[in-house]
Subunit: 282 residues, 2 copies
């Protein structure tokens, strides 16, 4: 029976810390504020937006919503980003991506002020993750994995970790962040030969494969700590992770559930970045 | 008997390519120029500078030397960087580091224009390596390892690589660049438990341990391709790598010699970045 690494307890601890920090900020006249810039009406974006707004409300972070039509011009979009850059009342900016295809995402990414880049999309944030120099903000999902390991007191130093997936939002940043914790890290991906054998060598297994139930029992070994980043919809409308939970649960030492694991923590990490950004202004 | 992956042949191929490109650039009125900014008279810096200047001369890249006294002020140093930023006749800038302790290296790094950052020190270049988006220039030593693998037609896709070392100039960028070649990469470092066992699983072993003869026979397996990044001076004044060559030579499939391996190629990569930077202006 694996221990369940539930996100709720991590979120509660993050919220408690943030609430104290926000009280302190407000006593100094600073009201931490997140701007959410959305282009169009994609259901995924709207769903994430709702979750983020609720989480902000819980801890007392203000939200400013900017919604632009799906056919907005590049110029108008950049003007909006620049206006948020210059708005002293806004501490963090979340821009939903992918943007509609007629827009130049790279130019938008470059237009955003690194200090307000709470979602880790600018060069400043990406270089900060890569170098570990603390500049900018790491991608929220990768940091959520680290927050879970920290909260459940997983000592990463000297451990062998395997990260499945090499995306810029999870796999690569999680790998580099684990290196910073003195973990010996292996990154697997679609071109990895005999991935199950590699995965079984892990003491900590981070799974961001992007495919429902991709990790089955032959990937798993007793005692492993498994962080399942996947969020997938099954044919019968239920959520499931990238790890086949029923395979993992009798084998591994601990695992994050889906739903209720990494995803839950990600939104709190986003909000905590807004608070961090506001603190840097004091 | 391991195959020797000599740097000279890689350099010759890079030089041939560069010479054609430089001829083309000059025919269009562009003379690729490297500015070398040195603070003080550290023997290591002077030695690298001489090597770089010679390599530039061979292929026809011009060099502009700026030497500032070891007690230069931060303001004067930044002014020099900005003047190089604005100098249309300069395509790449190499700044020797570490700088003397009274200087703010981070501010200098931020002052340099990313387009001229041929040594991969700015956020733009570091983010470019991390994301693989081709922006900026990767650190020259890490790229030299890739150039050697490319030249000797090592097919990295699906292979297992182990990188020993997690520095920003070699280990981390080499690991990310190998991921980009579809290699399954493990990064080891001083906190890795049983590093010999991990190293033996490698088909490609990149060694940047920073310690003479650190990698002995128990790290090695038959058929491995070994890239030795180390350059160390022995007690009797000879150069040696991080791999104990006499241990490796009878076991592995191929290995870079020291001297005459990675170090040789690094300087050529630096010069090739100047040519690339100049090409981007056309």
């Amino acid at each position: 029976m694996a221990e369940l690494l539930k996100g709720a307890a991590v979120v509660a601890a993050l919220n408690e810390k943030m609430t104290a920090e926000i009280t302190n900020l407000k006593s100094k006249g600073v009201s931490p504020t997140l701007a959410i810039l959305r282009v169009g009406e994609r259901p995924d974006d709207i769903s994430y937006e709702k979750g983020a707004m609720k989480r902000c409300e819980t801890v007392g972070v203000a939200v400013k919503n900017i919604v632009l039509p799906a056919d907005v011009t590049q110029d108008v979009l950049i003007q909006n980003v620049e206006s948020l850059n210059n708005d002293k009342g806004v501490h963090g900016v979340l821009i939903f991506r992918p943007l509609p295809k007629h827009l130049d995402e790279e130019a938008v990414r470059k237009a955003l002020k690194p200090e307000k880049d709470i979602d880790g999309i600018t060069d400043g944030s990406l270089a900060g993750v890569f170098t570990g120099n603390g500049n900018g903000f790491p991608p929220c999902t990768a940091q959520a994995c680290m927050e879970i390991l920290d909260f459940y007191k997983v000592n990463c130093a000297g451990k062998r970790a395997v990260v499945i997936g090499r995306s810029l939002v999870v796999g690569k940043p999680a790998a580099v962040m684990l290196m910073g914790k003195n973990t010996t890290v292996t990154v697997c991906h679609t071109k990895t030969v005999d991935m199950p054998a590699v995965a079984r060598t892990a003491e900590i297994l981070i799974v961001a494969a992007g495919k429902a139930n991709a990790v089955t029992k032959e990937y798993l070994a007793p005692g492993q700590i498994v962080v399942d980043v996947g969020i997938n919809m099954t044919a019968d409308g239920k959520l499931c992770g990238d790890v086949k939970f029923d395979d993992a649960e009798p084998i591994v030492g601990a695992i994050t559930p889906v739903p209720g694991g990494v995803g839950t923590v990600t939104t709190s990490v986003l909000v905590s970045h807004v608070v961090e950004a506001a603190k840097k202004l004091l």
